[in-house]
């Protein structure tokens, strides 16, 4: 049995589901999304979900993140309450010598319109009274915040379904072929899907999807582990780089990086380091109970920057894979829809093309 679509998106994480939703808003094409698991079974369901801009470098990447953060307030009206909160974001530093670096960051980000303030200890403690007095200062921006990742992906998919998108879950793609201008996507459970256009949005698994088309999509798997506390009275006002308090009072803590492939175990050493970091930031957390640790495997392109656009030399095939998918998802959905539907985008995507890696192999500079 063959299923015919105009566009098939592979991957229903935050990136794939946003693309599917934005495509479906045009109401002109028949769209399907195929996923090896269910929504939220992968990276998008195991994140602190900061909507984070101000520390993103190089500045053009920060600028891109800012445009995406700017789309968040309207998402609520479009797909429902994703519990987005523009709390402001703080990245503390503990050594006064770092102030110089902080000022340099602020200066660079200002050039692209990101307002970064460098806070003194007093200004910092005024914003976050429970933060450790050992902190020397922080970078801060109003633009940063956080979102509920569960609501976000659920509501992208719900809105897409309402607009007629078909979802096929627990159905791994096993083979992709190009035949007479169409893509034949073979799946484990539901046979072959046929599509004029395909979008690879498999997150951490996108490298494997690329191999099915004989192309290299250079992405790394980087594990992060997060501690969750019992619900506490609200005491953190902003989103801290490493710590945030959810609406229900739980505190989510962690910023770790380990390259251990797809392994999603939690490990005692990282939990202990993470708890140590929590106390460095908020000594008041000493008596709080930890109820759980979870881990997620981030996808990080080899050079850390998004891979977005048409796959070079392969008509009607597109790729969207990036770290910080939560922050970037509204913008990526918008841009990929423009690319797939209109063949041109409102922002220049050339810096994000997959071709930059090929250029690099030929001895030329990476962007």
């Amino acid at each position: 049995m063959s299923r015919q679509y105009d566009v098939v998106v592979i991957g229903s994480g935050v990136v794939g589901s946003s693309i599917a939703y934005h495509l479906s808003e045009r109401k002109t094409k028949k769209v399907a999304v195929i996923d090896k698991g269910f929504i939220l079974t992968g990276t998008s369901g195991s994140t602190q979900a900061w909507v984070w801009v101000h520390n993103k470098t190089p500045s053009w990447y920060g600028e891109l993140s800012m445009y995406s953060a700017e789309l968040y307030p309207t998402l609520k009206k479009r797909i429902g309450d994703v519990e987005y909160k523009r709390t402001g974001g703080i990245a503390p530093f503990f050594d006064e010598k770092d102030r110089e670096h902080a000022l340099r960051l602020a200066e660079m980000q200002e050039k692209v319109g990101i307002d970064v303030k460098v806070l003194t200890r007093e200004e910092l403690l005024e914003k976050e009274p429970f933060l450790s007095e050992k902190a020397a200062g922080a970078t801060y921006s109003d633009i940063d915040g956080n979102v509920n990742p569960f609501r976000l992906v659920e509501l992208y998919t719900k809105a897409a379904k309402k607009n007629g998108v078909d979802f096929s879950f627990y159905n791994p793609v096993t083979e992709i072929r190009r035949d007479k201008g169409y893509y034949q996507i073979r799946t484990e459970k539901e046979g072959v899907f046929t599509a004029k256009q395909i979008v690879l949005a498999g997150g951490v698994w996108t490298g494997e999807l690329g191999r099915m088309l004989d192309i290299t999509i250079p992405v790394k798997q980087v594990r992060g582990q997060i501690l969750v506390t019992e619900p506490l009275e609200p005491f953190i006002q902003t989103t801290i780089a490493g710590v945030r308090q959810a609406e229900n009072g739980e505190v989510l803590i962690g910023y770790s990086k380990e390259e251990v492939g797809y392994n999603r175990q939690t490990t005692l050493d990282v939990m202990q380091e993470t708890a140590g970091m929590a106390l460095d930031y908020f000594p008041v957390l000493a008596e709080a109970n930890v109820v759980r640790c979870f881990s997620g495997v981030r996808v990080i392109p080899k050079d850390g920057l998004p891979i977005l656009g048409q796959i070079p030399g392969m008509e009607n095939a597109y790729v969207a894979v990036t770290h910080s998918g939560v922050t970037l998802s509204p913008l990526i959905g918008t841009l990929m829809t423009e690319l797939v539907m209109d063949r041109e985008t409102s922002l220049d995507l050339s810096k994000m093309s997959l071709s930059r890696f090929e250029r690099s192999a030929a001895g030329e500079l990476i962007v």
Binding site: T41, P92, V290
Partner: protein
């Protein structure tokens, strides 16, 4: 049974909410958990685990032994943060600030 019966007490999730999640394509306990928060509260499904699996097994018409329990994670029971913390120099936990600053000096 009345669909409004609370199954997960920590997060106040009822049968109807679990069945709604299953209707959207959720299959496993962890799928339902991420959509409804059932089993995500302080007890970490120690109280509701069996009940939620029963609701899932009845909805999917499979035996309860075929419904996997949710993923168990450390700490198995609650532990004070200060008891868990180490003051050894961190090697895998990093600072967002330091990471961004190294990006500035690179560019």
């Amino acid at each position: 049974m009345d669909k409004s019966v609370i199954v997960c007490k920590c997060e106040e999730v009822n049968i109807d909410e679990i069945e709604t999640a299953l209707k959207t394509g959720a299959r496993h306990f962890d799928d339902v958990k991420r959509l409804t928060r059932c089993g995500m509260g302080p007890c970490q499904s120690k109280l509701c685990g069996g009940l939620v699996r029963r609701v899932i097994s009845e909805y999917r018409n499979v035996s309860i032994s075929e419904v996997e329990p949710p993923k168990k994670r450390m700490p198995i029971s609650m532990i004070r943060l200060k008891a868990l913390a180490t003051d050894k120099e961190a090697t895998k936990v990093i600072s967002v600030f330091k990471e961004s600053v190294s990006g500035v000096s690179r560019s």
